[in-house]
């Protein structure tokens, strides 16, 4: 139909603004019960995960701890503090049980744009380009309604993406240089196939998730990365490309994975996507 499409996302998220869409499933079935606060949906998922697999608050806090060093290295981050410990996380203010302040996404606003072009057009571009080789998506209505704990829909999307890309999450020669995980990396790591089901907690404790670690991953929250265009998660795409373009040359790696899992707070729908290659 066309060879180049400009995709733009922007929003203005004023402090305290929690307006609901006029017509939505969320407004009808979730807002009346108070599912409008910070990370309510993730909190329920976390509780279910703890119930099913024995995941501990310490294991969940490790994700935030490992991502803390990213703050100080990213000049665009809206950093709360450069580093903190598991105890710091667990001693921070409880926001929505079992998630603490340092595990919560803070509200931000911004804008982002990308150009999606055909290979022919991209080859003529003056700027560096990145390719998406294994896109896949799994649309779900609401994370909190349809995907709790082990039933989160990232897994089929991840499997489809890796199948399209001709490789496997844990296959040899597929060391991802960049992983963008939207919060609670233990859950995403497991659902994406990087570890066995139910082993997300031990997985994050055994691995170093920092940029210098053996499983570098970025928690896509505005604390770590200024989330330009948080709605529809455009920032995951722009950040993945930015990271891959910088990292791959230094590390000699060519692939990264970008997971987009819509937040449960203000989004009209949650829409996990996976698959980015630079």
């Amino acid at each position: 139909m066309c060879n180049a499409v400009l995709c733009i996302v922007a929003d203005l998220n004023k402090t305290g603004d929690q307006r609901m869409p006029v017509i939505s499933i969320q407004r009808e079935f979730e807002a009346p019960y108070g599912n409008i606060g910070a990370n309510c949906g993730y909190a329920m998922i976390a509780h279910r995960h703890m119930h099913e697999y024995g995941t501990t608050p310490q294991q969940m806090a490790k994700v935030a701890v490992d991502h803390a060093p990213m703050h100080s290295k990213n000049p665009l981050a809206t950093s709360m503090t450069s580093r903190f410990t598991i105890d710091d996380v667990l001693n921070s203010k409880m926001i929505v049980d079992p998630l603490h302040l340092y595990e919560i996404v803070s509200p931000v606003s911004g804008g982002a744009a990308i150009i999606v072009a055909s290979p022919e057009v991209a080859r003529r571009a003056k700027n560096r380009r990145s390719g998406c080789s294994a896109p896949a998506s799994m649309r779900i209505i609401r994370a909190s309604l349809c995907t709790v704990g082990s039933r989160i829909s990232i897994k089929p999307a991840a499997e489809a993406a890796f199948q399209n890309g001709g490789t496997a999450a844990q296959g040899h020669g597929f060391r991802l240089s960049v992983r963008l995980l939207h919060n609670h990396g233990d859950r995403h790591a497991r659902n994406a196939g990087f570890c066995k089901k139910g082993q997300g907690g031990p997985f994050v404790m055994e691995h170093n998730l920092t940029y210098a670690g053996d499983f570098p991953a970025i928690r896509m929250g505005p604390v770590v990365i200024r989330t330009a265009g948080p709605r529809r998660r455009m920032s995951h795409v722009t950040e993945a490309i930015r990271q891959l373009m910088a990292v791959r040359r230094a590390a000699g790696e060519k692939r990264g994975a970008c997971y987009v899992n819509g937040n449960a707070d203000h989004e009209r729908a949650s829409e996990p996507d996976i698959g980015a290659q630079a």
């Binding site: 305290g16 929690q18 499933i25 807002a31 009346p32 909190a43 926001i95 909190s144």
Partner: protein
């Protein structure tokens, strides 16, 4: 057994055409401890309250509140329904 609540909106039947009357199992829950000053909900200005997903005996899962002291609510706790209009 604890009570959970269903606020029946006028057009809810369009999306959720089921009349349920029995029990439900708490599928997941969290305790919302802090409320924003600009909360759009008339009912949740005061925290904490228990937000939960329950699985109805009829099958569907739904978001709801569990009426109980937060420290007593557990995953897979059985609850009974209480509809309001």
């Amino acid at each position: 057994m604890r009570e959970f609540i269903y606020y029946r909106a006028p057009d809810a039947q369009m999306f959720f055409p089921i009349n349920f009357h029995g029990s439900a199992l708490v599928d997941a829950q969290s305790v919302q401890l802090h409320r924003g000053a600009a909360s759009s909900s008339r009912m949740f200005a005061d925290a904490p309250y228990v937000l939960a997903i329950v699985e109805l005996a009829e099958g569907p899962r739904m978001t709801t509140n569990v009426v109980a002291p937060p420290e007593q609510v557990r995953v897979e706790m059985r609850s009974r329904s209480s509809s309001t209009t």
